[in-house]
Amino acid sequence: MVVTGRAVLLAGIAVVAVAFSGSLGPWAAAVAVAVLVLLVALDVLLAASPGGMRLTRAGDTSLRLGDTATVEVSVANPTRRRLRGAVRDAWPPSAHAEPRVRPLSVDAGERRRVATELTPTRRGDARAAGVTVRTLGPLGLAGRQRTLTAPWSVRVLPPFHSRRHLPGKLSRLRQLDGRHTAMVRGQGSEFDSLRDYVPGDDVRSIDWRASARNDGVVVRTWRPERDRRILIVLDTGRTSAGRVGDTPRLDHAMDAALLLAALAGKAGDRVDFLAYDRRVRAQVKASGRGSQVHRIVEAMAPLEAELLESDPAGMASAVLTAQGRTRSLVVLLTDLNAAALEDGLLPRVPALTSRHLLLVAAVRDTAVAEMAAGRGDAGAVYRAGAAERTLGERRRVTAELRRAGVEVVDAEPEHIAPALADAYINLKAQGRL
């Protein structure tokens, strides 16, 4: 049951009326209360039943973080009474659903659509919590309310800010591909096709044997190796929960992983994805050709860093099972945390590098660099010392990994995505994939 301000106003009028009723007080009071109760009860009874409403949903099912999605609830009124009241489509607070409550009027037998705009501030699945329908009686004094379930969920995808780097990296890739410059055979390229010589082609690429069999001069074209396999491994353990700037390391890593996946997809490589801490949190296996980015984005959306120590041994075996015997580039997005890596990952590196090429990418913390540069008073120097120690350990781990034959990309949050893309392009140019 609900009552409105109108009922309270009516009660106020009754109070004044009884106060001035003089000797008729007892009677006036009884009549006033009886009328009040009667009217409120009548209104409750005459209000359309909120439980009788039929709800159906429509609208967006996914959006990128920072965008706005619209989800509609259509309220059908199969009862014989007119629905007059309000409706609230409830979402978790981080979904920032607007408007919160809106007035609603649906005639008997009709339906009306109610749109709610979501501007989520968190990645992951936003689930509708329920639709509260409040119906008022004909007098507008009181009514009924019911919360109905109308399940819907909107997947909030990672924002993929590094998209803006994609055109630049793609043009670098095309240079490598030979579409911009002369097709020169180099390391990391494979035979593509034979075609007729056109003036301007490098004479060194003429295939004399094929030319002998043909009328004209035939040149060989080369292209970078294709159909290489790339496995992007996202560490979702505790070190990924730490925030660099305002964003967790995990989200920076996702951004870099998405740029790499998009780039590798365009370059014709097969991209697999694995999220791991102590068990597999998400996995995408490349199916056929074409970009896997949308699937990886979907898989990433609900991932959150777990507050537990990652298990590098399990991660290594998961990688080995995922990739089988095919040589591939394994990109591990984690933190260069000395304690975690020296105990966990380094002993497993030989097992991985014997079969695959391992690349470790990590987000450097700008706050630590700022601390290391801090001077002025004793406190700042102590902080600088602690920061230098962190940086020193990071350098040591990087050196150890490089000695073990691992590629390391260590960059600030805003540079990690392009740096990882560059590392990939360089590996490709060197034919090391």
Binding site: V16, S21, G25, A28, A86, T147, A367, A378
Partner: protein, 398 residues
């Protein structure tokens, strides 16, 4: 930071509410309930064994200095004491007793008609500081002629100076107060003379006597043990039954409660007002659906451990470690620029740094590889100097 696990029910479904309304109510109400129970228990325990004594001037049950409980208890050792609160009670008590003495206090609280009725009783009467109206009713011809209550009266008791056995045997007493003079022909005996009259006057009429005492203070708990005060009281109240009349203040008449003064309608309007308040509570208290809960992400800075370590260094004054970290940071950053590998011998590094940045190789060695006690790690100022010198050499190396 918890990812929504698949088995978690959707928010808003009944299972998502952690407990029922009754549990919630109990959780909200249990603390106030326990508090109220504790308060009641404590107040009951404190009231047990605590006896309430009434207070008031000359009150026979009062233990305060101006009460007369002491005298009443002394009297009760060998005679009955009937405490009366109204003239009717007093008259009844007098009528029931064979041998009684009526002692009247605070008689200004009695109506003239009641005074006349009491005066008509055939009984010995002691009036303590009577009103003028009372004096004329009980002892006509005796008048109040003065008042004497000097500041130092407790050092100067009054002497009886009369033939009244009760007063004479009692001896000097502290009966200062109102003074009376009996008119001629009343046959009155005056005792304890002081200035303008006598503090005690006894009038005999027929077989009863009326004694007028100017002040009740000598019989209070405070003064009863002084001089002849107690003896005077015992002598004057010499009967089998002492009827002790201390009338309650007369009840006011013609007053009305607030409820009687208000028009009936206003009172009755409280009923719809209560209904209106209940409606107000429901109107404002009813939510549009339940609150939606959501697990919040953990917010922890990645630099937290580094900052924690800085705090540890500072609190433990680990200057040697800070100095080591600063030096190795400097060497790591510049060894490549100096053309040195990570395993380059110290002498080579020192020589290269000294050559590129100027200065004495000895000073550079002390800066980078101190022997024995580190001069820079002695105090915080040393650490600041180390940082400044390393920065200066970094600048020159660039």
């Amino acid at each position: 930071m918890t990812a929504p696990s698949p088995e978690a029910p959707a928010a808003g479904s009944p299972a998502a509410r952690p407990d029922s309304a009754a549990r919630r109510f109990w959780r909200a109400a249990r603390f106030p309930a326990v508090l109220a129970a504790a308060l009641v228990t404590v107040s009951v325990l404190m009231s047990l064994g605590g006896e309430q004594f009434p207070t008031g001037h000359l009150e026979p049950r009062s233990v305060s200095p101006d009460g007369t409980r002491a005298l009443v208890n002394v009297l009760r050792e060998d005679r009955d004491v009937e405490v009366a609160r109204s003239s009717a009670d007093a008259a009844a008590a007098v009528g029931a007793a064979d041998d009684a003495v009526l002692v009247v206090f605070l008689d200004h609280r009695l109506l003239p008609a009641e005074l006349d009725r009491l005066a008509a009783l055939d009984v010995d009467t002691v009036l303590v500081r009577p009103s003028v109206r009372s004096l004329s009713a009980f002892a006509p011809g005796v008048e109040m002629t003065g008042r004497e209550l000097p500041r130092d009266y407790l050092e100067r008791p009054l002497d009886p100076n009369c033939d009244l056995p009760a007063a004479r045997t009692a001896g000097p007493a502290y009966v200062h107060g109102e003074l009376y003079t009996a008119g001629p022909g009343t046959g009155a005996v005056g005792c304890y003379p002081a200035g303008a009259g006598d503090a005690l006057v006894q009038v005999s009429g027929g077989d009863t006597t009326t004694t007028v005492l100017g002040n009740g203070d000598p019989w209070t708990n405070r003064l009863l043990d002084r001089g002849g005060d107690a003896a005077l009281a015992l002598n004057l109240l010499d009967a089998e039954t002492v009827v002790w009349l201390r009338p309650d203040p007369p009840r006011e008449e013609g007053t009305a409660t607030l409820a009687e003064l208000l028009p009936a309608g206003v009172l009755w309007s409280l009923l719809p007002l209560a209904a209106g308040l209940a409606l107000l509570v429901v109107w404002q208290g009813r939510r549009m659906g339940a609150l939606v809960h959501e697990s919040l992400p953990v917010v922890v800075r990645a630099s937290e451990t580094t900052e924690g370590r800085a705090g540890l260094y500072r609190s433990r004054k680990a200057r040697d470690r800070v100095a080591d970290a600063l030096r190795s940071g400097f060497l790591d950053r510049h060894s490549a620029r100096l053309g040195m590998g990570p395993d380059a011998p110290r002498e080579a590094v020192v020589a290269a740094v000294a050559e590129r940045t100027g200065g004495d190789p000895g000073a550079v060695e002390a800066l980078l590889y101190p022997k024995g006690a580190d001069p820079y790690a002695a105090d915080d100022d040393g650490l600041l100097r180390l940082a400044a010198e390393l920065d200066e050499r970094s600048r020159r190396l660039r």
